[in-house]
């Protein structure tokens, strides 16, 4: 038997070690010097469908630069959008920061967004914002094919995502049909190809016995260890694996050069809620996210594409302008209900 005291001391020590792990590098929180002086106008409530590990640091920078006390509620884009819809006019939120155009579309449809000023909107190309000026894209993510570097040569990869229906890809594909970004790509397919051909593609891939994953990260992991040879994902997950596991991680990205729906670039974006209490701060926040500082943050820290001019990309990324990407307005990607229905028809979703 071990003594009670030894046991508790042991646990306590381990607990302290882990909580202190790196704790020395203090993380600046959104707390200004003295909270008592903060007036109502120095506040901002952000509902973020983007994860704290992605946007937390840049929101803290905003807070530091402006002295505005930012309160953030994090969740998945679907959860946060559903919360906003349930709250309706009584929402405490000033800003919604969404991971994908679908979430922005759902909130737009309920009429919860207020129009943004022209000069804010003008900072990004027209295709990356709402045509009614209700939301604006902040950063972009490319759909790519991630491939295992030992099992596949880039030269073997096709021009267009359609070509993965070829039987030679049998048992080699990984995908995540319930993932929001995948749904956005299928929505793009419906816009470009029409329902019938999209269904045909879905069935063609299914005939190749793809492995179904729960999200982008597990696909990249499975491609890296050779469980599957290629996967349909967003481009930036790969860089997380390269950072933690080193350059010999066995997977790389391939942007489909065909310019079809597989070459989709889509945005994460933000909009101001019409019933928010802090209009001025909300607009400051959105402008800050489009400032060079924030755009550079997204480009270099989260490996995303900046949407404004004059930002340096990570060396591994081809600049947005040089990609032969699908030309589509983001606002056309918001009919997720139709996409879900099609995937159910194909037996891919419950």
């Amino acid at each position: 038997m071990f003594g009670k005291r030894t046991f508790f001391v042991l646990i306590l020590v381990m607990t302290i070690i882990i909580s202190a792990c790196g704790g020395a590098t203090s993380v600046s929180t959104a707390e200004p010097a003295s909270t008592e002086e903060v007036e109502a106008s120095d506040k901002l409530v952000v509902y973020s469908g983007r994860s704290e590990s992605l946007v937390g640091p840049i929101i803290a920078q905003f807070s530091e630069a402006t002295g505005i006390e930012v309160e953030v509620r994090y969740g998945s884009t679907a959860e946060i959008a559903a919360t906003l819809l349930e709250e309706g006019a009584n929402s405490p939120a000033d800003v919604f920061f969404a991971q994908d155009p679908g979430g922005l579309g759902a909130v737009t449809k309920e009429g919860l967004f207020a129009p943004l000023p022209e000069e804010t909107l003008a900072k990004v190309p027209a295709e990356f914002r709402s045509p009614d000026g209700l939301w604006v894209g902040v950063s972009a993510r490319a759909r790519v094919v991630v491939y295992n570097t030992e099992l596949v040569q880039p030269a073997e990869l096709p021009e267009d995502i359609w070509d993965f229906t070829d039987p030679k890809w049998n048992n080699k594909i990984g995908w995540a049909p319930s993932n929001g970004s995948f749904l956005a790509m299928v929505t793009a397919m419906r816009v470009v190809w029409g329902e019938e051909r999209t269904l045909e593609w879905l069935q063609g891939i299914q005939a190749n016995n793809p492995k179904v994953f729960e999200g982008n990260a597990p696909i990249v992991e499975a491609v890296g260890n050779g469980e599957v040879e290629v996967g349909f994902v967003n481009h930036y997950y790969l860089y997380r694996f390269l950072t933690e596991q080193g350059e010999d991680f066995g997977a790389r990205n391939y942007f489909l050069p065909g310019g079809g729906p597989g070459s989709l670039v889509m945005v994460a974006g933000t909009g101001r809620l019409a019933n928010g209490q802090n209009e001025a701060n909300a607009l400051k926040f959105i402008d800050f996210m489009l400032s060079t500082v924030a755009q550079q943050y997204f480009a270099s820290t989260t490996y995303e594409y900046a949407l404004t001019e004059g930002v340096n990309l990570q060396r591994e990324l081809t600049p947005l302008a040089e990609l032969n990407r699908l030309e589509i307005d983001m606002v056309d990607l918001d009919d997720l209900a139709g996409t879900t229905q099609l995937l159910q028809e194909a037996g891919l979703l419950p």
């Binding site: 646990i11 882990i18 909580s19 590990s53 959860e79 405490p92 679908g102 990249v220 499975a222």
Partner: protein
């Protein structure tokens, strides 16, 4: 006393009925599409798959949990208390993390395969995805539900019945099957119900193990922002829950589980395992290894790998404190809410209390996000002073976890003879005094089991905490989720390890302070 109990219980019922009311309001907005979607053959298939998974996980969990409960309470198993502390802990591992860890350990090209490749040249393992993977992981994460309720009941069981059985010539083995196990039926039933409903509610494991259950269908509806369809599917879950409840209440029947007549429950003599010691020890080692050591080991690996690559792990002190305090306060509040309801159900068994019993469990299988959105709807629009405050979060935890506390307390109360309470009353004590001086002390093991269950599950709760907590209130579970969803593995590992470590503290406290039986 009854009217006061009913007063409390009705408050509880109102809280439980909030989500159901919300679902009905939402379903009214459902178009014909949603209704037709419900009648697709795929839906029936999904219901059948879900039910099959729930039944399988529950059965296997019982075969793991009951032996461990018996071994750690009744026998001279080596390091008995240590096993008692470690075996309930898998309950704190968040389902999505557990799924992820097991998939990356046992996947076709996972860590196990890489090990086997260097040793034996195995290049690919058979797939664990689908039913086997989902069943394995869910069992390892949820058997503690049965374990904790069974342990509580077992430690209060009067040994004289078993002694009588042995004196009549039955061996340890047949005594266990003929006497002990039947006496544990209410605990086993309550624990199994929690496991079955947990399987219905789970999203993380089934998503990663690629086994489509009903909850996945609900999440898909939310992903396409179709709240009406999500509500319709959720109501189906409530119906399925009622079926499971009907089965469980039937296992109870009208049997009495307390001892009548003279004699007082006392600590039993430990059963000597003899040459069964080694197999019993191996069994515990295997279970703890698979459900706790292996996932923790992988987390440590993630953490070290990340730190080596220069990852910075933010300080977790405040977040850890948030987790602990929310879980502890939640456990106490929920226990307090459970006690009056349980007394009513056990001491006044009639049609009304049976209905009360079923209502309190009816929302237990609903995914957390549904409960959270229901409270968003009522809170934001009708109680803005309460909305997104700590009490609101406690209310959500209450709706989510009340049945866990009730199950453990109820099975213990069933073991306490009402004669004891009546005796105290006949000696002139007020019923309230009787409750505090007689019933409550006797209930201790059930209260501890109930509180532990609630504590451990609040530690890992995610959707309600994300949506309803005061803004900026972070817990270890939300930090893990935030990191793992974007593939920041090292940043997920630190809070995940912390959750396991910190949860072991209260478990250790309770187990080490159990009455020592020698």
């Amino acid at each position: 006393m009854t009217p006061i109990l009913w007063g409390f219980s009705i408050l509880v019922v109102i809280a439980i009925l909030l989500p159901i009311t919300y679902l009905i309001i939402r379903v009214m907005g459902a178009g014909s599409d949603a209704w037709q979607g419900l009648l697709r053959p795929q839906m029936f298939e999904t219901i059948a798959r879900t039910a099959w998974l729930a039944i399988a996980v529950t059965t296997v969990s019982a075969f793991i949990a009951v032996p461990i409960a018996w071994l750690t309470v009744r026998t001279d198993l080596p390091f008995r208390k240590m096993w008692a502390i470690l075996t309930p802990l898998p309950l704190v591992i968040p389902s999505y993390v557990g799924g992820y860890l097991f998939a990356s350990a046992f996947g076709p090209r996972g860590l196990l395969q890489q090990l086997l490749e260097t040793l034996f040249g195995v290049t690919r393992l058979p797939e664990i995805y689908g039913f086997p993977g989902a069943m394995l992981v869910l069992t390892l994460l949820s058997y503690p539900y049965i374990l904790l309720s069974t342990r509580a009941a077992l430690s209060k069981l009067d040994p004289s019945l078993e002694e009588a059985s042995r004196s009549l010539g039955y061996g340890n083995w047949s005594t266990f099957w003929r006497v002990t196990l039947p006496l544990l039926r209410p605990a086993l039933g309550a624990g199994s119900l929690l496991v079955a409903l947990y399987v219905l509610r789970d999203f993380g494991v089934v998503a990663i193990m690629r086994y489509s259950t009903f909850t996945r269908a609900i999440y898909v509806s939310y992903t396409s922002f179709d709240r009406s369809q999500a509500a319709l599917l959720s109501l189906v879950v409530v119906l399925v829950t009622l079926v499971f409840l009907f089965i469980e209440t039937r296992t109870l029947s009208r049997t009495k589980y307390f001892q009548i007549g003279t004699g007082q429950a006392r600590p039993p003599a430990l059963i000597q395992l003899g040459y069964w010691r080694l197999p019993a020890l191996l069994f515990c080692v295997t279970v703890v290894f698979a459900s706790l050591i292996l996932p923790s080991g992988l987390l440590i690996y993630w953490l070290i790998r990340g730190l080596r690559a220069g990852e910075v792990i933010p300080s977790l002190g405040l977040i850890a404190w948030n987790s602990i305090s929310a879980s502890a306060i939640g456990a106490i509040v929920i226990l307090l809410a459970a006690i009056p309801v349980v007394i009513l159900i056990v001491r006044r068994p009639n049609k009304a209390t049976l209905l009360l019993h079923r209502i309190t469990y009816s929302t237990f299988a609903l995914p957390g996000v549904v409960i959270a959105l229901a409270l968003v709807f009522f809170g934001a629009n009708h109680a803005p002073w309460l909305y997104q405050t700590f009490p609101m979060l406690l209310l959500a935890y209450g709706i989510l976890f009340l049945p866990q506390a009730m199950g453990a307390v109820r099975t213990t109360l069933l073991q306490i003879s009402p004669n004891v309470e009546e005796a105290a009353r006949s000696l002139g004590r007020h019923p309230v005094q009787v409750f505090f001086s007689v019933t409550l002390p006797l209930l201790k093991s059930g209260l501890i089991a109930g509180a532990s269950l609630v504590f451990l599950t609040i530690m890992k709760e995610l959707p309600a905490t994300l949506i309803l907590a005061p803004i900026g209130f972070k817990t270890l579970a939300t930090s893990i989720w935030s990191a793992v969803s974007e593939a920041f593995f090292a940043q997920a590992a630190a809070p995940a390890l912390l959750i396991v470590l910190m949860s072991s503290l209260p478990m250790a406290y309770f187990i080490l302070n159990e009455k020592n039986v020698e």
